[in-house]
Symmetry: C2
Subunit: 342 residues, 2 copies
């Protein structure tokens, strides 16, 4: 079988803020044969994630653990799709799968135990797109990061930056379910309203309107911050540390402000870290891969019961992948950013 | 009973590098009566510790958890002394005590359960000065920090900064006993020789002779650093993070380079923290107070067996407290700095 496949590639390594001109849509013919051992998937949704920018750089700490993206080549990405041809037992034509696919219309994979790929139970009643956010890597990041890294206790205070984003919006809701007081920050009034009115945050603020982030956090956390779920980096981390309580915990899963500008880094006061005995811990979703099904089952239950709302921001068609990606760094997305291909 | 007491005070808050002119020796008459409930101690040794500088500042994160030092007043410090008069049952004349005394010739305390004060078993055979270092807060910091915070595994690599200091010299020896490969850095060739020749470090280097700390650590840790015991801060932390392995641990107990210059801070690459899933944890000795006797019993055993060497740097008489303290920030001490009063 042959299919025409179109995919998004970078033209060159991307070092600063990305622009749509950094990308191109390319075409190729994909050949699948019954002897190949491979599974051919028609992609329905692909995930748009900030961390991909680090993979596009010539040099980045991300290259320790995630492959560099080679200009001109396919870009691996979490996605959900339908099997259109399969040369192996585990996958049948018509099966829906979620896992590591790519920013392309068709993907081919060869099943391996180490690989992130699971069959989706289509009878679950959830929109398939949820597989990319709350029931996928965003959910795993938020759940693992909050419960395993932050170890919340009832009554503690939680600060979430980039709180209207894919991970932050879930963390804030999980924090409420854990009996914590949670305040989020975001970059527009509409996002702030969303956090307070729909997602149940105790409070929220627009960080762009705060000339002094330390003072803003002092106002919102008069008794200090016990847990900071860090998605931003830079001055936000410094301000959070200055307002943290003794034995505070900082879960560092993203520092989007630093992705586009390596010169813009946090300059933390280590005396705060010592004297308040703060723990900062870096992590990412795949650290919790063995607990993936446990986490998504819990999150799925909460969604069904209406305890967790899923916020999505969906663009259409492969051509919109570059603009959807660029929008992440301009703060233009609300909730999980993804592209619907078919 | 009345005794003449002389004590060291700061003349004013100290903000940058300390100088001997910041201090003065003052005199007072201490009155002790049998009805006071108090214990009068003639101090024999007092501890000289870098963290005291933070207490001398007008503002510091240390003030969250340790009292500010008031100009003109006595300066609480760990010390060892002999009871000369006691108005309570637990302490008798002639007992030797170690705990929170002050930079002064005589101290008076009223026993409280929460206070750091213990009777020293004079029959143990250890020099009394050890109570201030290896068998006191330095030992508790090194043991707790290394075993409880860093959680070493056999075969791991350990980097210790300020390795010839009171805490660092112990951590390096503990790391060898734990089956780790350990490299230390210090600021003179004599200290480097001490680390390698006497304390059994696998290797050591003089950081002042390294124009590129990242490259130096790369050379000494071709397979990366698993554990970094942080005593220094600034560029040293940045360089260590750049060379750390996945799931690396950084125990942050002191950042002496940042104490004298608040503008000189580490600018860590948080992408390293995320992608290598590094944990940084601040702590200090008192976090392990409930395990104090357990820790010091183990360390005492090691010293007796010749497995751990204690390095001390002793100045004489109360007048030398200011110069002994100032020497810490000039890298002039080797091992535990203390002053012998009597």
């Amino acid at each position: 079988m042959e299919v025409e496949n179109r995919y998004v590639a970078v033209r060159h390594h991307v070092e600063g803020s990305p622009s749509v001109d950094d990308f191109e849509v390319k075409a190729e013919t994909v050949r699948w044969t019954p002897e190949s051992g491979e599974v051919l998937v028609r992609n329905m949704y692909v995930s748009i994630d900030p961390y991909q920018l680090n993979r596009m750089k010539r040099q980045s700490a991300s290259h320790h653990s995630v492959d560099v993206i080679v200009p001109g080549e396919r870009i691996a990405s979490y996605g959900v799709g339908e099997v259109v041809a399969s040369a192996c037992e585990e996958y049948k034509e018509g099966d829906v799968v979620a896992g590591m696919l790519a920013w392309e219309e068709h993907s081919v994979f060869r099943p391996e135990t180490s690989m992130l790929m699971s069959k989706v139970d289509a009878s679950s009643g959830f929109p398939l797109s949820y597989q990319l956010g709350a029931l996928g890597t965003s959910g795993m990041t938020a759940y693992g990061g909050f419960y395993e890294v932050c170890k919340p206790k009832v009554g503690e205070t939680v600060f979430v930056s980039a709180a209207s984003g894919s991970v932050g919006s879930l963390v804030g809701q999980f924090a409420k379910l854990a009996g914590c007081r949670v305040v989020g920050c975001a970059g527009t009034q509409a996002k702030v309203d969303l956090l307070k009115d729909k997602l149940g945050f105790d409070d929220a603020f627009n960080y762009r309107e705060e000339p002094d982030l330390k003072a803003a956090l002092k106002r919102h956390f008069p008794d200090g911050i016990d847990i900071y779920f860090e998605n931003v980096g830079g001055e936000m981390l410094e301000a959070a540390l200055a307002n943290m309580n003794t034995y505070g915990r900082v879960a560092v899963c993203g520092v989007i402000a630093e992705y586009t500008d390596p010169g813009r880094r946090a300059v933390p006061d280590l005396l705060e870290v010592i004297y308040k005995r703060i723990t900062l811990r870096g992590f990412f979703a795949w650290d919790f891969i063995t607990k993936f099904h446990e986490f998504t089952a819990i999150i799925g239950g909460w969604i069904e019961e209406g305890k967790v709302h899923v916020i999505e921001d969906v663009s259409d068609r492969l051509e919109s992948v570059p603009s959807a990606f660029v929008a992440l760094y301009r703060g233009q997305n609300v909730g999980k950013k993804l592209v619907k291909l078919a």
